[in-house]
Symmetry: C2
DNA sequence: CTGAAAGCGCTTACAG
DNA sequence: CTGAAAGCGCTTACAG
């Protein structure tokens, strides 16, 4: 059968208490006794049952990560940052996605009640901010990787959306563009508002107007990027550049422009947002506002782990990591 | 404090045993008693502690998923299929990546000993087949999503690599190409051998030779696709088409061809493998051999869950899901 | 149909 | 420095 702490105790001729002490390094144990116990542990290949430890301690060094979907490049990058940090700290990572909507959330909430994990890192699934906040109020340690610019009143990690968009605007103006077409993300996202404000703000400062006709509502998909460009072309809306609120829609824009015979960047310059891995390999490679996705995941995990370690109380103030402007051929300098 | 089964029992004026019975639907319970217990459970908002249940039952309805990296599109798709299936079955999903090499594997193995999960689904991290096999022999329920064509002697889910590659070859020949350049994946992967055999087999059948000079070793990265094409062009190796062993390297090939002024598909037709989401948005869109990634993840999860449910013994025979040939403009019909 | 008691495998006061 | 015992919150024979 399975080797238990009792087996180790018996073999080492000590009590389970002593074994537990050398296991956890708590309390004084005679050096020789400890060595003997360690030898037995090695010989028997003993590993404490995580279930038993969890029950006894009331915590199991496990974090949950809740994400809307796993097939978005952005999410994969953040998740990798989280996984690296969590694993390095010796924590487990329980993954939850929300593909089944209400059902999924109910299941997740019930796992919270079941105390299946010590804390949760979340990339907010659509319309769950309220339930997240509720869970947080009920005492669940929570850190949000805020891709929506929600500025929730619980801990979060975000990026400088307005500044990043401002850099994009300045770059376009500096290279002589005067009529950018903006493809936004979903309008109710805070990050979309921020990117809009940051971008248009620079234009206004420099005396360039941004008519509403050149601000098109997208939804962060490749498809929407195509559609917006096709429509603008059909309607004859004049534009000499595109600022898409993410790289996926920028990719769609590149496609539609090419299909319509517009050259990038000669006729139209294109800038995206995120710098997902494929951004360097679109045709032409995409100038974009890099979000430090990996680092955001790492920061979220680190805050949570430090909190659980008792070092740092979890404060609501967001950790804001800076964007970085990446120039490639779709909008050269 | 936390509501426990004892609280429910007291409030419903029954024993913990009875509460447990209505919770798990095992054993006969008087209908009225059961209703009363359920009412109390609802009123108190009681949810059983997963830690306690796990310890008592010796299993916690949790699966582990071990992956090499989370930032490859292929992995994201498979993982989504796994997550959907696992969640729908009410299981938890513990995620492990292997970014820290040996250390990671040691940690994973120790989690196995700790009985932190009931079974594991794995996309094999480099060079771990041996340890996986060992864990499986020691009784760990294991299903591998076999992207390497390893044909291990434990349960796995794979795809028809040879047939898929054969379809690609037939398509190129049918459209008049006679000199394909092959960009392989790592040579020691079984899937690479299979794709090579399947592809070259069709060529041979139709009397077309495939000289070694037109078989270049790649490593599944975008970069390798670029490098191979650049080198072939420099060395003056003649080719009228490219068969890349995955979409990422095909993307690199498209890039290098364009940079060199070769038109796709007019001068060179390009076919990839996988059909990751961006394949439809490369320039031009990529003709490719689709792997049913989502379905592979789902199948792996389903086999594991059925096994754990006691329905099906886990057999070594691989589940093989068919590839599908997807024609887009990089190699039209 | 129902309950008392043992057991799952640890940790942690408490006592010495 | 060390150990006996209680406790974590469930499930499961066993007995009635």
């Amino acid at each position: 059968m399975r080797v238990t702490i009792a087996d180790v105790a018996r073999n080492a001729a000590v009590s389970k208490t002593t074994v537990s002490r050398v296991l956890n390094g708590k309390g004084e144990v005679d050096a020789e006794t400890a060595d003997r116990v360690r030898a037995v542990i090695a010989k028997l290949g003993y590993v404490p049952s995580s279930r038993a430890v969890g029950l006894a301690r009331g915590s199991n060094r496990t974090l949950a990560m809740l994400v809307p979907s796993l097939t978005w490049p952005w999410v994969g990058e953040v998740l990798q940052g989280v996984a690296d940090t969590v694993e390095a700290a010796g924590y487990g990572l329980l993954l939850f996605t929300c593909n089944r909507g209400e059902d999924s959330m109910a299941q997740f909430t019930s796992q919270v009640s079941a105390r299946a994990f010590d804390g949760v890192l979340v990339i907010e699934p659509e319309n769950t901010l309220r339930s997240m906040a509720a869970l947080h109020r009920q005492g669940l340690p929570l850190v949000m990787v805020d891709d929506r610019g929600q500025r929730p009143d619980f801990p979060s990690v975000a990026t400088t959306n307005a500044e990043g968009a401002a850099a994009a605007a300045a770059h376009l103006l500096d290279s002589g563009r005067r009529a950018p077409l903006i493809i936004t993300g979903p309008r109710h996202f805070g990050c979309v508002q921020d990117r809009l404000t940051g971008f248009v703000g620079v234009l206004r400062e420099r005396g360039v107007a941004q008519p509403a006709a050149r601000v098109a509502a997208g939804d962060f998909t490749v498809r929407c990027g195509q559609t917006v460009i096709e429509r603008a072309l059909t309607e004859g809306i004049p534009f000499d550049s595109v600022f898409a609120h993410n790289d996926l829609s920028a990719t769609g824009a590149l496609h539609a422009l090419r299909a319509a015979g517009r050259r990038v960047p000669d006729d139209v310059a294109v800038i995206g947002f995120d710098d997902i891995p494929i951004a360097a390999y679109t045709e032409p490679p995409l100038t974009t506002v890099r979000q430090p996705m990996r680092a955001m995941g790492e920061a979220a995990a680190r805050r949570m782990i430090e909190h659980l370690g008792g070092v740092t109380p979890l404060q609501a103030a967001p950790t804001v990591l800076p964007t970085e402007f990446v120039i490639r051929s779709s909008a050269p300098g």
